[in-house]
């Protein structure tokens, strides 16, 4: 009981504020780098491409050039899969409809940055954004 009141935590102290500032600095710089500096550096040299896979088979490679399109994904290995993909004027891509039970892919929404991806696990479909040469991401997928 008395232990409770003597043990009342402080809101902040000098040491912890320094730790927080240091963390904020590190992640702030990382944020600045990956969202401002890095995109600015390769802005006009590299157009982003969306790579659409079924299992490990590449189905489509779509340039995210700002053209608005809506199309149905064709999966030769599994013709039952019904997925609708849209590319948008803001250089993004999304899965707009899917026959999968969880609809996680649809709820993922629009993605546009290299390294982002949309996964539809029930259908084994993955959309990854990368460059024209490589699908991007650090390849957790392998």
């Amino acid at each position: 009981m008395t232990e409770q009141s003597t043990n009342r935590p402080v809101l902040s102290n000098k040491r912890d504020i320094i730790i927080l500032m240091a963390l904020l600095g590190v992640f702030g710089l990382w944020l600045l780098w990956s969202y401002v500096v890095a995109p600015a550096l390769d802005e006009d040299t590299e157009l982003a491409y969306a790579w659409v896979y079924h299992e490990n088979t590449l189905l489509e490679k779509v340039a995210l050039d700002g053209e608005v399109r809506v199309w149905n994904l064709t999966v030769p290995d599994d013709p039952d899969i019904e997925m609708e993909i849209s590319s948008h004027a803001d250089h993004s891509i999304s899965v707009t409809a899917s026959d999968c039970p969880d609809k996680v892919c649809v709820h993922t929404g629009k993605i546009h940055m290299k390294g982002q991806s949309i996964a539809c696990l029930p259908n084994h479909v993955i959309v990854k954004i990368g460059t024209e040469e490589a699908p991007g991401g650090l390849g957790v997928d392998g």
Partner: protein
């Protein structure tokens, strides 16, 4: 006026204490449900990752950790994740439980290592960062995709929301201490 006939004095009733603690737990649990529901009714705050939540209910968990004990905090974390499952499905459950448990683990670790000397701000900021990062790592493992690009904004958001949580907790601290003083037994049944 209406002088009570036999209003049970708080000081003697061990049973009364148990009931008030039960009520407190029930209030915390329902508060965590409400905050989780609110959280999950907002669109995912990370474009490209479904089911990400801000972790509004973390304030309740941290509160339970400070005023009750770690078991209550774990119980609330797991129960609210199950609630999220009924609300939003398995992926949200996965993200909720991974983020929640990682945050709690980090908070307990900090609390124990510093022997309660860690400040509320660092405690809750570390918790919120872990909550966000735990969710994103769970998503990365689930969807088998790389998510490095999302870590910096999530960490920064975690620090900001953690500091806000700390301020809220600090503000209600005196009230809760008073509440505990009046509702807990005076016979020193121990703090656990």
């Amino acid at each position: 006026m209406n002088q009570s006939k036999q209003s049970p004095p708080i000081r003697r009733a061990g049973g009364h204490q148990q009931i008030t603690m039960l009520v407190l737990r029930a209030i915390l649990l329902s508060l965590s449900f409400v905050l989780s529901a609110l959280d999950h009714s907002l669109p995912s705050f990370v474009p490209g990752v479904p089911g990400m939540s801000l972790g509004l209910a973390n304030v309740v968990v941290l509160f339970a950790l400070l005023f009750l004990n770690w078991k209550d905090a774990v119980f609330i974390t797991v129960t609210k994740s199950i609630f999220v499952f009924f609300l939003r499905g398995p992926v949200s459950l996965l993200l909720s439980v991974s983020g929640g448990l990682l945050a709690l683990f980090v908070e307990i670790l900090l609390w124990k290592l510093s022997r309660g000397k860690v400040s509320l701000m660092l405690l809750s900021a570390a918790g919120a960062m872990s909550h966000n990062v735990g969710q994103i790592i769970a998503y990365a493992l689930y969807a088998r995709v790389a998510v490095w690009i999302l870590i910096p904004p999530l960490a920064v958001m975690g620090i900001v929301s953690g500091v806000i949580t700390a301020i809220v907790l600090k503000a209600i601290y005196p009230f809760m201490e008073r509440w505990f003083r009046t509702h807990r037994s005076y016979e020193g049944e121990g703090t656990q």
